[in-house]
Symmetry: C2
DNA sequence: TATTGTTATACTCTATAACTATA
DNA sequence: TATAGTTATAGAGTATAACAATA
């Protein structure tokens, strides 16, 4: 398993998070389909449809969690840490699909925010066990509610049935390459 | 329309593109579901399902087009430019959902790659009309074939019917915020 | 006064490589 | 010799702000 990379889309501007207080709720930056523009082959690609949706959802996610400065990767990290005790930094990196050095920075940030703590790992003095702080637990609970609301909004145009269908179809996409 | 942002996920490492020649076809970096890991609420979120799919697809896309150094944003730009004559830089930025300064850099790169040219815009001496060079046209045709193949691979586990359903469901996601 | 393209600057996220302290 | 975490460095992509030329 060569520590080969990721492909994680990245970088959200601090804009929403930076402004912090202003709950202006965004005037939707990205128009997935500008009128009078010919998108050519893009309109026929599944990958592009997903890309478009992802950009919009990412925007809405960040706006929804701006008050906590929690981005999708941070949220994922918090959830994963909370549900998997004794997780090591390397494990987290692997699960998130990022380099170990990236996980260090991510955990550093969460630690500075007082959400995560590095505990000595039992039986291996090189490693840490990651745990949520009490603040981390409380924040995660609140953030989870916001995320659930956000997700409901995102999918609000779809019936329960359709949502289930969508998830199941998505899960079947992009099978692993033969290698 | 405040020139507000984007939300465009970003940054792909040069890895695949940098190595250029080596068509090792990737050993798939991101595992969307690591065994024995509890993903908690993440597994129930539509947004997370899309995020996972997007990461995988992005990886496969970049690997597929590595020989041309063409990333998704670059590909989108080429297609948009080819299908919409007399497009100005500002238009491109708007369509792509990025800042004008970002469009400048993007076009700079495509121009250095000899794929795009800045022509004087008729009737406005401040602006440029973007056009593909002959090389740009040829490269785009080749890249399109690769993208179509990539997209087919990505969706290969789904029937035609299912692919259509997926696209239609995706298009209905993330309705604009009330603002 | 507004807009087009540009430049300068900064920020976020990611990666690779080298280093340390363990194992 | 290999692994966990770290640090240093670099690269891609984005944003905002200010500027010149033109509208």
């Amino acid at each position: 398993m060569s520590s080969d990379s990721s492909g994680t889309p990245a970088g959200m501007p601090p804009r929403a998070a930076g402004t912090a207080a202003t709950p202006k709720a965004a005037d939707s930056g990205f128009d997935p389909h500008v009128p009078d523009i010919d998108y050519g082959i893009l309109d026929s690609l599944i990958g592009h449809a997903i890309r478009r949706a992802q950009i919009r959802i990412y925007e809405d996610f960040v706006a929804s969690l701006a008050q906590w400065q929690i981005t999708p990767p941070r949220f994922s990290a918090l959830v994963i840490i909370s549900r998997n005790p004794k997780l090591k930094l390397t494990d987290l990196a692997h699960i998130l699909g990022i380099a170990r050095s990236g996980a260090v920075l991510l955990v550093d940030a969460l630690q500075e925010m007082n959400l995560v703590e590095r505990r000595p790992a039992p039986g291996d003095r090189r490693a840490y066990s990651l745990v949520l702080t009490p603040t981390g637990k409380r924040t995660l609970e609140a953030a989870k509610q916001a995320v659930v609301a956000h997700d409901a909004h995102v999918a609000s145009a779809l019936s329960e049935q359709e949502q289930a269908t969508l998830k199941s179809l998505l899960a079947r996409l992009a099978p692993p390459r033969p290698a």
